[in-house]
């Protein structure tokens, strides 16, 4: 089974970690000549399988094709990760939606300028920092009485929210900023130390000094 993506794509990590839990074998095509981001995903044969041309994109060995990272992670995962009850499944979707709608925009606004891939805008960054504090506060109170986001074990909710927070924790959440959210920090460090996460993410070094924008 094949996953097309560019290298180090946090959205692809979601599916790869899910596959570590389910045992699904996935071949990652992310570098030329197998996959050249910006070219391969614009070819007619790629667009025939994946009409939106986005990555990550998944092709099963039976020819089954699916795009959108949450759909791929759901497909390569297992029932445990998807939620074994109606309630668990709904709460997992709740946190996955929350990650996409409430975490991705401020996290990208804050982190991208520090990577030099977007212009720095002081007002937008300050607003994004406040949004990140709000989000970490929501997660922190939820995790006060819980080890994982839904139920007693890792699910797609933890995998998705960890991958969505990855750049924040690596790039800008320095100790003084993340100090008020110790339930989130505990949960995040627990997850990234699970063998299935480590197999995909390797050693995740938490930010020591908040990266400033890279002029």
């Amino acid at each position: 089974q094949t996953l097309y993506t560019y290298p180090e794509n946090w959205r692809a990590f979601k599916a790869l970690i899910a596959a570590q839990y389910s045992g699904a074998k996935i071949k990652v095509l992310s570098t030329p000549p197998q996959f050249h981001f910006g070219q391969t995903n614009k070819t007619p044969e790629f667009l025939k399988k994946f009409p939106v041309g986005k990555v990550p994109a998944f092709e099963g060995d039976d020819g089954f094709c699916v795009f959108e990272s949450n759909a791929i992670a759901h497909y390569v995962g297992n029932d445990e990760l998807r939620g074994s009850t109606k309630e668990a499944a709904a709460q997992i979707i709740q946190w996955v939606s929350f990650a996409d709608s409430d975490i991705v925009p401020p996290a990208s606004t804050w982190v991208f300028p520090t990577l030099g891939i977007m212009h720095y805008n002081k007002q937008a960054t300050e607003y994004a920092k406040e949004e990140v504090k709000r989000i970490l506060g929501v997660l922190d109170s939820h995790l006060k009485t819980r080890t994982f986001l839904v139920g007693e074990r890792v699910t797609l909710a933890d995998i998705t929210v960890v991958c969505t927070l990855l750049w924040l924790y690596k790039q800008v959440l320095e100790p003084s900023f993340r100090q008020p959210y110790d339930n989130v920090n505990r949960w995040f460090v627990t997850c990234i130390n699970q063998p299935q996460f480590k197999a995909v993410l390797g050693e995740v070094k938490l930010c020591e000094k908040m990266a400033q924008f890279d002029a």
């Binding site: 560019y6 959205r11 925009p105 990208s108 606004t109 991208f112 949004e131």
Partner: protein, 31 residues
């Protein structure tokens, strides 16, 4: 460097402006 691919990530940077405007509009409508 892999980081540069990230710039192709599809992100709605202005989402907060739209969320805010929508919230105010419906709060006003239900005022």
């Amino acid at each position: 460097m892999a980081v540069n691919f990230l710039m192709h990530d599809k992100v709605w940077f202005d989402k907060f402006k739209y969320d805010d405007a929508e919230r105010k509009y419906y709060e006003h409508m239900n005022g």
